[in-house]
């Protein structure tokens, strides 16, 4: 279970570099992302807006196609130019034709992959249990580069300004050149790093297994601030209105001032949090291991609603137009106003993945390695 998926959570893919604005030091997202556009990281966009703009679909009636990747999957798929990229526990990265479900190529990393891939220019980036981050050519499936660390790489690589950032189980954050994998800097933190970083031009924000949220200088990796929580952090942060939103295994969701690291608010849930927040329109949606999905007002941390949708939630939610999608054993669609279930589909049994929505199709990967295109 990853974040189980969080590990994999939204990377700032470099394909989003163009959206970077030096004026405000943040990646900005156009309101209403094109629902037919690419889905280059776990929640579509670097902003961690959770796929905002994805279409609100009716209960899917049929599978246009279905295929199996041959082993379990504990990460989310990504999408670009009509191609679906799925990483498996057998150590394979699969490129699948979105029209017909046929595999176009398969890259063998040789060890389990928990990391949700991210896309940067012509490269597919991901980490592996063998301690390496890989870059693979999206067209041919051949390896472009690899970067070795001394621990598992479960986080998603995040690219910004030609630099790719990722954490490792060896307790270090790494910054490498996106086109070559050459090391720019590495910085030791106090524990394993499965959280996927949120990158801006100045700061790299990331959670750590030692219970701290860290802000590192993007250029040097030096620590800008560290804020303590009560337990390790699996969750990957989202940034909204200068507030960093992140969950902790200490049962709390935190709102942290991005400039100073000061805790502005924290909201208590019933168990630890491994999921990551999706943030849009002033609301953060995040799941807990207590099985509840929580909608919190970003400025205050005040609860808007909560809904118990499963025994446990570890995957992040996708925020569509008028709908929230979440994978918890099956696929659920919820009303974003009150969290009530609109429909359920008993496919996609996984708590470590997230769906992607392209036009009127939902692409879904199950924990057992089944891949569906639902209409």
């Amino acid at each position: 279970m990853a974040d189980l998926a969080l590990r994999s959570f939204a990377a700032k893919s470099a394909s989003q570099d163009d959206r970077f604005s030096p004026m405000n030091d943040k990646i900005t997202m156009a309101a209403g992302v094109d629902a037919d556009g690419d889905w280059v990281t776990l929640l579509k966009e670097n902003t961690r807006a959770g796929g905002l703009g994805a279409a609100a679909l009716e209960n899917p009636g049929k599978a246009r196609w279905q295929m199996r990747v041959g082993s379990g999957v504990r990460s989310a798929p990504v999408w670009r130019d009509g191609k679906l990229y799925v990483a498996s526990m057998q150590g394979h990265l699969h490129a699948i034709n979105g029209d017909n479900g046929r595999q176009e190529w398969r890259f063998n990393a040789g060890s389990e992959i928990y990391s949700t891939p991210s896309l940067w220019r012509n490269l597919v980036l991901f980490g592996s249990n063998d301690g390496r981050a890989y870059a693979v050519d999206a067209a041919s499936g051949t390896q472009a580069w690899e970067m070795k660390t001394n621990g598992e790489v479960w986080a998603s690589p995040v690219s910004l300004g030609g630099v790719t950032y990722f954490g490792s189980g060896d307790g270090h954050m790494y910054a490498v050149e996106s086109n070559s994998g050459k090391l720019k800097w590495k910085q030791e933190l106090g524990g394993r790093i499965h959280s996927t970083a949120y990158a801006t031009a100045k700061g790299i924000y990331v959670g750590c297994g030692d219970g701290h949220v860290h802000c590192l200088d993007s250029a040097t990796g030096k620590n800008v601030w560290s804020t303590s929580t009560g337990n390790g952090i699996n969750s990957s942060p989202a940034l909204a209105d200068d507030l960093l939103v992140i969950g902790s295994e200490d049962f709390f969701v935190y709102g942290i001032d991005a400039a100073s690291g000061a805790v502005k608010w924290k909201y208590e849930t019933g168990l630890g949090i491994a999921s990551s927040p999706a943030v849009a329109n002033g609301v953060a949606v995040i799941g807990g291991k207590d099985g509840y999905l929580y909608a919190l007002e970003v400025p205050t941390g005040k609860l808007k609603w909560k809904a118990r949708v499963s025994d446990v939630i570890t995957a992040p939610a996708v925020l569509g137009a008028g709908v929230i999608y979440i994978q918890c054993w099956g696929l659920l669609a919820l009303n974003p106003e009150d969290g009530k279930v609109l429909w359920r589909a008993g496919l996609g049994g996984s708590i470590q993945s997230a769906p992607i929505v392209v036009g009127k199709t939902i692409y879904l990967v199950s924990g057992g390695g089944d891949v569906y295109a639902l209409e």
Partner: protein, 388 residues
Amino acid sequence: MDRRTFVQRTCIASAGLLVGGIPTLGEDEVVLPQAPPIDVHEAPLATKSPLGMPGLYPGRVVELHHARSIVGNRVSQPVIRGMLEQGLKELSGESSATAAWQKFVEPHDVVGIKINPSGAPACCSSPELVREIIRGVQSAGVPNQNIVVYDRFGDEMDLGSYQLLMPPGVRVVGVQNNRLDQAGYDANVYAQVDFFGEWETRSYMASVVANELTKIINVPTLKDHSASGVTGCLKNVGYGTFNNVARSHKEPISFTNPLIGVLCSIEPLRSKVVLNIMDGTRMVWHGGPLTQNQDFIYQAGMMLLSTDPVAMDTVELEIIDKKRSEEHAPSVWEHKASSVTRNSREFYTDASKNLFYRQPGHIAAAGKLGLGISDLKVIDRRKVEMKA
């Protein structure tokens, strides 16, 4: 080496009688079928370790209580540290926790920590306790790269976030990544038995246990079990080390007795388990092993230590059954047809219902195999009440 373990049972029926249903004894009591013999193919160590089950202190169980060890369902690592150190000193008679650890592990050892993630996230071996055990093993000179936190199922370990929460360098191993994954098992060490006509009749030992680890610290939870009565030291390390074990129970019949004890007796597992540390901060008194229903999870604030898994499980059984009695739930020994349901939803919400005829007798059966002492009157039970 091959051996055949014939298990002595008093039951008069046989598995074949299941075809015609389960016979009854009087009103509601049933007669359960006798388990078939189990063949064992093991790999004994060249020199048998005196630390293996039942270990250095047969029959001794240290039972610690601390009201602040769990508050608001959160486990306090500093309190756990104090409990663990006190418990080790009480168990070993040493004046320091480090000296106690040195009785069990040496710097050249490769130490496995067998957790119980089954039931995560609501009730599993607390990462806070596992981190303190790692600290203790380190204090005896074992480097991080020679410490392996393991269980059979990687997906259940993920639910507990163990990989993230362990120190860098410590290996975290899920032996299999899905229910059919067989690559992590040693084809030369197994138990063979046909319970219900299943297609695969062997259960193989995990390779990491058979070939890599030199010592094992067993970290079970305090939990009832729908098929075996309780899941404690024996079930955690037996069913958590061999594959294809769920086949031992098919509703409503359970052959966990005798399989649990037989698996624990197989070398080299038997010789490698040197210490049992039970996480009793939470107690699942019904719905085990997988329940997430907080109505059946009591924040007990306990920790138990023993080298003798049979003695500790005997104490656990007494604790669980006492709690069930307080909650007006039937004893785990009860074998009434009216208590058994095939409706899992009913089982998970009604403490009077169960999916199987539980087999808590597996503990005494393990005692007969020489794994420890199962007589409560003989067990040296040392209760330690720690001040908040």
